[in-house]
Symmetry: C2
Subunit: 216 residues, 2 copies
Amino acid sequence: MTKIGNLPDTVQKKLPPRSVERLSKYRRLLSRLDQSSGRFIFSHELARLLNLTPVQVRRDLMLIGLAGSRRKGYDIRALIDLIGNTIDKKEGHNVAIVGLGNLGRAIAAFLRKSKSRLNILAAFDVDSGKINREIAGVACYDNQRIPEIVGKLNISIAILTVPPDVAPDIAALLTRSGIKGILNFTSVPLDIPDSVYLKDYDIITSLEEIGFFINN
Amino acid sequence: MTKIGNLPDTVQKKLPPRSVERLSKYRRLLSRLDQSSGRFIFSHELARLLNLTPVQVRRDLMLIGLAGSRRKGYDIRALIDLIGNTIDKKEGHNVAIVGLGNLGRAIAAFLRKSKSRLNILAAFDVDSGKINREIAGVACYDNQRIPEIVGKLNISIAILTVPPDVAPDIAALLTRSGIKGILNFTSVPLDIPDSVYLKDYDIITSLEEIGFFINN
């Protein structure tokens, strides 16, 4: 494996969203494999395990400055580390879950079990039975305290699982409070500034998409 | 609004996944608007509400055979119906949730509340406390009965929310049982035949992607 060299920041900034998504997937898969020193993996193996083409995998790894050895492939441990150096912030990201209904609680529990550099520091809700308690291992605060807590705990990412009718207002409040990214489970299109990175997880839309393709 | 005419099946089959996803989003948004006769919407309004470009919206609607009137835009009711005719199967799709943990239950409850042509007919789990009971309004069966129940109830889509270690085996069992599409929440890459339409909902990967872009 040859390291092409430290890429200037400007190159890293230009990584396309799809590449970042795949790099994250590579790492999650690699982290389940044996990472002892001297363990290697070929791009075609990685590709097969993730239903991608080897060319795609090699192109993504080139983007972060790696070329595999034709004979041995990529050193698994080094690959995990380099992906981390590229896509992770050193201290991790602080995350809040906004809306502790069934879905919010399930996601909180899931994330607390998972190994990642995501720190679930707070949850928000309007239910007085949840406020000021620990739910699914996460401290729950009143929605009204979003600006205060987001600032104090330096929370940068919000997972939005509130009811649809309040989603636009809560998203606006999160934006004003300095949130930088939102994972939106509410199925409501959010009108937020481009400076906030938005990703939509719209379960029904996805099921309808699956439905369309299996019809044809 | 001018209907370009019934498109031959071969054209509909060629709709790209992203267009289907957007058409589904258009419909969900439109369904919240006033649909009285004579209510129209412009492509630029639809675009703004969904953070898309008007050109993109017009192109998607052209794909399903619609051209808007420059003066009035698109008839909302007719647009909803035409999208439905294009992407829905008449009798809807039968869906099963496989894995009734926190996430599975939350999704079951969410889908039962939502208006869509998705019929949640069954859930599967290995927990004897859940099997043969109704959980979140859905009949829960033993995982071992997947082939029998999928066939009997004509279930075509599975939502996979099982623990990661069993995900590959369960996905293989679903495939052998005749499932046509899988929405995979397990974060495990699934090696299933191309004939099964797979969509991955990997929450951690998505949060890491958001994290990368807000760093830069």
